[in-house]
Amino acid sequence: MTAILSLSNVGKSYGNVHALRDVSLSVRQGEVTCVLGDNGAGKSTLIKIVSGLHPHSAGEVSLDGSPVSFGSPRDAQAAGIATVYQDLALAPLMSVWRNFFLGNELRSGLLRMLDIASMKRICAAELSKMGIVIPDLERPVASLSGGQRQCVAIARAIYFGARVIILDEPTAALGVKQSGLVLRYVVKARDAGLGVIFITHNPHHAYLVGNHFVILKLGRVVLDAHRDSLTLDRLAAEMAGGEELAELSHELRGVDAGKVVPPASPS
């Protein structure tokens, strides 16, 4: 299948800092592409390029085969690329349905009044499609759990016609159970026919849902593999830094990890 969105040899420099070099990546419909990397690996820069916050300075980004360069987040959104940021872009004190339709409010009648009944109905329906039930949509978003908020943001992106959805570390701040819920929604987004870019630094979460894996390190791609040619152990090892980890374990061999140090007794 052809890719909806593909990056070839994309690079980004801020002055003399090369944040991203020669990154190639393709996102296909109904697939989850996982981008893994440690802090400072270039994940955020990659998101910023794809979501239209910063233009790329080298290489080519193409959408449906034709090259594009997004000037603003609105351009990217109009092209069907939705980003669910870590901070989720939800206003905490506003109700669930108001947040869901924020910036895309439905209006009806002569006075262009908000069509509250329809918005609530659609919001409830879209959330239940994602398997999340919130009985009182008037509740402020701040009173939902982290996972539920994440799901509201994902459901919103899907409803407003996203073809590619970028999830920026959706499981980073969540507990085990909540992460499970969110991963399930990642799969739901895939099943809904979206191309999913799942940014994470957790290889276990990535391996549970990913079709394709790209590991970034210091702004370069160090691994680009399909699920068929990769085991979780290999992914985890690559992610942990492979050689670096071996070096570290060599270095730490002498520290006696099982040792318990008794409190110094006053003498």
Partner: protein, 346 residues
């Protein structure tokens, strides 16, 4: 193993809330309780308070505060302050009066000039705020002092006095007085036109806030401007618009001041900005933005009207009015916070 759907369906932690909790978590509740308490208090202790004819006087006091408390509440929900709101009223009144008087024009020319100026001051506040990224407290504190000086300076240059000259003999005064300073008598109650403006402004603002797209945007820019921008809300336009709304209402209040009293004292309006903010806060607006109610702000204004006159009617020493207001502010905010917490826990 249970599937995630089952988990979600079984997740009964976020249940629907009982009606009482939902009503109690509305932002206006604290102010409504306070208004009822104050009403009963003065009904009990002040004999003239019980006189129906005084309703007009009380509502008039409330309306002059309320006409400004409504836009100030909107602005606070949008996450900003306007400390220049009080003196902007005086600027509006003075500018209209001085222009018409100085050049011998029809007073309606002054009225229009004043409208443009007042809205422009609001737009300038908003523009400067967004341009510099400074907190609105500082930006409008600056405008507050600038306007205070300009009011005094320009009035002195134009008239050699600290008040604008009387304009009641000029062209158009009668019609302008009818629009901005007239009153109607219904039975024993004498109602000033400002009461009508106040009620209209409250209704329009409440409608805009809760039933239109712009209202959604106001909540969003106050709650989380970054999030609002990310989903495509025009944050800058919304904020500048809110400052302009304050300007518009300052114009309306200033016109009432001018055509009610014929002259405007150039030093007037200082300290009023805090009264507008207090009314909005009593009405449930959070200082941090993103939450509040214009109906609450209007109830806050009503509390002012009742207290101001109630103290007089009760024969208490009016020196203590401001102390009373300060206590009211603290009590109302504590009640708001308490009620909200209780309701949110339910």
């Amino acid at each position: 193993m249970s599937t995630v759907e089952e988990l979600a369906a079984r997740d009964d932690r976020v249940a629907g809330r009982p009606l009482a909790a939902r009503v109690l978590s509305r932002p206006e509740v604290g102010s409504l309780v306070a208004a009822v308490v104050i009403f009963l208090l003065f009904m009990a202790v002040a004999e003239p308070f019980r006189n129906v004819a005084n309703v007009g006087t009380i509502l008039y006091g409330a309306s002059t505060i309320g006409m400004m408390a409504v836009p100030v509440a909107l602005l606070m929900i949008g996450g900003e302050f306007d400390l220049s709101a009080g003196v902007a009223v005086t600027t509006a009144g003075l500018s209209g009066s001085l222009l018409a008087w100085n050049f011998g024009l029809n007073v309606w020319v002054g009225v229009l000039f004043s409208l443009v100026l007042a809205v422009a001051i609001g737009a300038f506040n908003g523009w400067l705020l967004l341009r510099t990224g400074l907190p609105s407290f500082l930006v409008t504190l600056g405008t507050f002092f600038v306007l205070q000086g300009v009011n005094l300076g320009v009035t002195r240059i134009a008239t050699g006095n600290v008040a604008s000259a009387g304009i009641n003999d000029m062209d158009g005064f009668a019609s302008a007085h009818a629009v901005f300073g007239s009153e109607v008598t219904i039975g024993p109650i004498n109602l000033k036109i400002t009461v009508l403006y106040w009620v209209l402004l409250t209704l329009i603002a409440a409608y805009v806030l809760l039933r239109t797209r712009i209202g959604n945007w106001i909540f969003a820019v106050g709650g989380d401007a970054g999030a609002a921008r990310a989903v495509g809300v025009p944050v800058r336009a919304t904020k500048v618009g809110l400052f302009m709304a304050v300007g518009f209402c300052a114009w309306l209040s200033g016109m009432h001041l001018l055509f009610q009293f014929n002259t405007v004292q150039s030093g007037e309006g200082v300290g009023k900005e805090f009264i507008f903010i207090i009314a909005a806060v009593i009405g449930g607006c959070l200082l941090t933005g993103g939450y509040g109610s214009v109906v609450g702000a209007s109830i806050g204004a009503l509390i002012f009207g009742m207290t101001q006159l109630g103290i007089n009617y009760a024969g208490w020493n009016p020196d203590w009015f401001r102390t009373f207001l300060g206590v009211m502010l603290l009590l109302a905010t504590i009640v708001n916070l308490y009620v909200k917490r209780r309701a949110d826990l339910r």
